[in-house]
Amino acid sequence: MEDLYSRLMQDIRFEEGLKACMNCGICTGICPAAEYYQYDPRRVVDLVQTRNNDVIRELLKSETIWYCGQCMSCKTRCPRGNTPGMVIMALRKLSQELGYFTASEKGRQQFAIKRTVGDNVLKHGYCVVSYDVDPAAHPEQGPAWEHYYNHMDDSLARLGGELNGKEGPTRLIPDDVLNELKSIFKVTGGQDLYDAIEDASEKKAEEMGMEFKKEGRDFEYFRHVVSADNGSHQSEPEDVRKDVYETRR
């Protein structure tokens, strides 16, 4: 059986991110995810430093490691020089490499991120492309965005850009450049990670009896992973000492 801790130690972010934790809680005290989700970065780091394979495997399959928002507020404060946020990044990478991420509802969402942001990088040379931010899928973007989206040529022209132009904001990234990116992804393991996410997700979709397509987003499994919420993720404010503590949420 592979030693998961050793595998984690190969990730330089993990090596940087975990020296030894004394459980002071300074990270959890400042963590936005700890306020919103049932999440405690201190506990995650404490579990990881047991170096126990079973404990780490459980973490890799759990919802827990997907709650962090990578704000890195923890890095600023930790008195032992740890960074729970970087430990999380290493755990997430390993979870995807090993296919464990599909065991959790939040973990399965990685498929959506790969198909949107991930594919955008290699197809367009951007993480986010304006014509992809469909107001119908993003009502929170509001009327200003909806107008801009529907009148992008006119709006951009006024601001000094051109959608898919030669230069400037939202210019077209030419094919030879995209080929360089693709090549970089192949050489550095980026494509391997994309493939691992795709393969595990396809398997999971089959297991769950859901429709899966090898391209695009218009199918059952994709729609499921972006919207599923079993309601168990958020924290319940049980303020035992209401007289003293402000409510956490």
Binding site: Q70, S73, Q109, A112, T116, G160
Partner: protein, 355 residues
């Protein structure tokens, strides 16, 4: 209010970083290009036209893949090589100073340079990877700055050219400004941010140079809530909304006139979530109780220099800036906000705040 400014000044004096004077290699931001294209163009115009600086842009540069990296779909080795490719473009063009538009990018470039410094084998590996993938070589740049660092550096020159100030012309009082710093600007490497991580000075310096007053409030350092995957995936968006809301409720007692942010994502979220909260709960924040305009520092610099608000893109925010413009004495015709290329009027969006 209940603060001793000397204490903050002492901290700011300790965290002064080197920002170059000229000759920048500019790399754009996915979010800023998409949502605040006018901001990026405004930055370039200010630097080139108002300040006479050399800012070079190679159109072959791409995303740094930062959102993918923090969305955990792009490995660290990959992003190092993508960033190294940008360094290669800069080296080709003869530039040693990188000007970075996105705060996530800035955090990543800083993280990469720090990693290369402490683990030289990672730099060697990246050189090999980039060469193998593209045949490119590169020099490590001398400096990297966020574009807000650069505007900060020239804030006094901008102040001298200012046509408008961050002052309410009706009362003569400075505007009350909330400054919001993107988490990845200095939380990871406090020395890489002007003023450090606890009391960053990059936006404070701008606001004060242009006549405004800064508000400190309990949730000042709280993340806006982007959270990468926490926004990208629809099921997680509550996290993002919750974080911004926390900030609004914390700043509300101080009745801010304006929020200025250096990260494009933060600017976008704090604008969008005000709209969402209004739609969901009918609640609005701010001095007028009608929403707090959230501007990029480029937009604020542009207003101060007298640029046309509609040409820098203020109309494409959900919280419209009219109350702010009125306070500053900037005359801008709201009917000229939404125009087509040929100057004809486009249908105005409904439900804008302060629309």
């Amino acid at each position: 209010m209940y603060m001793k400014p000397e204490g903050k000044k002492r901290i700011w004096a300790e965290y002064q970083k080197e920002i170059p004077d000229d000759h920048f290699f500019y790399v754009r931001s996915c979010i800023r290009q998409t949502f605040f294209a006018g901001s990026e163009q405004c930055f370039l115009k200010i630097l080139r036209d108002d300040l006479g600086k050399d800012v070079f842009e190679d159109p072959r540069h791409t995303t740094c893949t930062g959102i993918g990296y923090h969305g955990d779909v792009v490995p660290f080795e990959t992003i190092q090589a993508v960033v190294a490719r940008h360094f290669s473009l800069a080296t080709e063009a003869g530039y040693k100073h990188i000007a970075i538009s996105c705060v996530t990018s800035f955090g990543i470039y800083t993280e990469i340079l720090e990693t290369w410094k402490h683990f030289p084998e990672t730099l060697e590996r990246t050189r090999e990877d980039l060469y193998k993938a593209t045949g490119r070589t590169f020099d490590v740049p001398e400096t990297i700055s966020h574009t807000s660092d650069i505007i900060y550096k020239f804030r006094d020159q901008i102040a001298r050219k200012a046509k408008y100030n961050l002052v309410d012309i009706n009362t003569g009082k400075p505007l009350k400004v909330v400054e919001h710093i993107g988490c990845h600007y200095s939380k990871m490497f406090p020395k890489s941010g002007i003023g450090g991580a606890e009391f960053p000075h990059v936006l404070v310096g701008m606001v004060e140079a242009w006549g405004g007053d800064i508000i400190d409030y309990p949730e000042r350092r709280h993340c806006c809530g982007f959270g990468f995957r926490q926004y990208l995936v629809q099921a997680n968006r509550g996290y993002s909304l919750f974080a911004s809301r926390k900030k609004f409720e914390s700043m509300e007692p101080y009745r801010p006139d304006l929020i200025i942010a250096n990260c494009p994502g933060c600017t976008m979220f704090m604008d969008r979530w005000q709209y969402t909260i209004k739609e969901m709960d009918g609640i609005s924040y701010g001095a007028d109780g009608k929403g707090i305009p959230v501007l990029t520092y480029e937009e604020v610099a542009g207003l101060v220099l007298g640029y046309n608000p509609w040409e820098i893109g203020l109309q494409y925010h959900n919280v419209q800036s009219m109350p702010l413009l009125r306070k500053m004495g900037i005359k801008a015709d709201p009917s000229e906000r939404f125009l087509a290329r040929d100057g004809s009027r486009l249908p105005e969006p409904a439900n804008l705040i302060n629309g």
